[in-house]
């Protein structure tokens, strides 16, 4: 017959095992081998360090130039978008085709999540966009205008006004671009 102590240990063992596995997974323990993608690799991907396939010749070690462009509600930008195209892009006074350039905060990681966010708000001033738009495409202007991400914010128009996109906090839970 089990003693009270043995029963208690039997009860607590699954909890101990779960906590230990979790700590090992997040790197808090070093005595277990755990399958996973290296967090450093995720940050390095965002920095363009690794090339698992054919890559491009770079002119230097600086960051690429990224741009943000606005698109009409009649557009079809999304996960399948591979590159910037002017089709369905907004047009009007105060807006230049191709959008506005921006820079990223240097990629970093917290826990197992690598992340980055544009370093400042993306804004247009004194602009008139009479046709409804609802989407923002971020793309790499240096690398053939390849697409990065699409963000939607609801339909709207502008009349001699300002449009500001304020970025989320740059951390592992809210950053604009996260690699988990």
């Amino acid at each position: 017959m089990k003693t009270l102590m043995q029963s208690l240990l039997d009860l607590l063992w699954p909890v101990h095992r779960a906590i230990t596995r979790y700590m090992a997974r997040v790197g808090a323990l070093c005595f277990a081998n755990v399958q996973g993608v290296a967090t450093s690799f995720k940050t390095e991907l965002l920095n363009g360090i690794h090339a698992l396939g054919t890559t491009v010749a770079r002119g230097g070690t600086g960051a690429d130039v990224f741009k943000a462009a606005l698109f009409l509600v009649t557009g079809s930008r999304g996960a399948a978008t591979t590159a910037y195209s002017a089709t369905d892009e907004v047009s009007g006074a105060g807006y230049t085709a191709g959008g506005a350039a921006f820079t990223w905060i240097a990629p970093s990681a917290t826990g197992t999540i690598a992340f980055s966010t544009p370093s400042a708000s993306i804004a247009w001033t004194g602009v008139t966009l009479a046709t409804a738009f609802d989407a923002l495409l971020l793309y790499n202007s240096t690398q053939g205008n390849k697409a990065v991400s699409v963000h939607t914010f609801g339909s709207q128009t502008l009349t001699a006004g300002n449009f500001t996109l304020t970025m989320p906090a740059n951390d592992s839970s809210t950053a604009l671009l996260k690699l988990a």
């Binding site: 991400s149 300002n162 996109l165």
Partner: protein, 68 residues
């Protein structure tokens, strides 16, 4: 003494602030917080319309190491 009457830039050029009506609205969803403010003239026409969007969270990619 210069004229101190405030003007505002609109689709009809610089006009007196006092001649326009101000409107604003907030839209709050899980994915976006949006503040829109606009001005109308005596005829009810929108002559200035601005929007400010806050993206409270971004997008996430998953990286998974496959088993052998």
């Amino acid at each position: 003494m210069p004229d101190q009457t405030p003007l505002i830039f609109t689709s009809k050029g610089n006009v007196l602030c006092a001649s326009l009506a101000y409107h604003h609205e907030w839209t709050v969803t899980e994915d976006v917080i949006k503040f829109r403010e606009w001005y109308t003239d005596d005829a009810g026409e929108i002559v200035k319309d601005s929007t400010h969007v806050y993206l409270p969270k971004g997008v996430q990619l998953g990286a998974v190491a496959g088993g052998l």
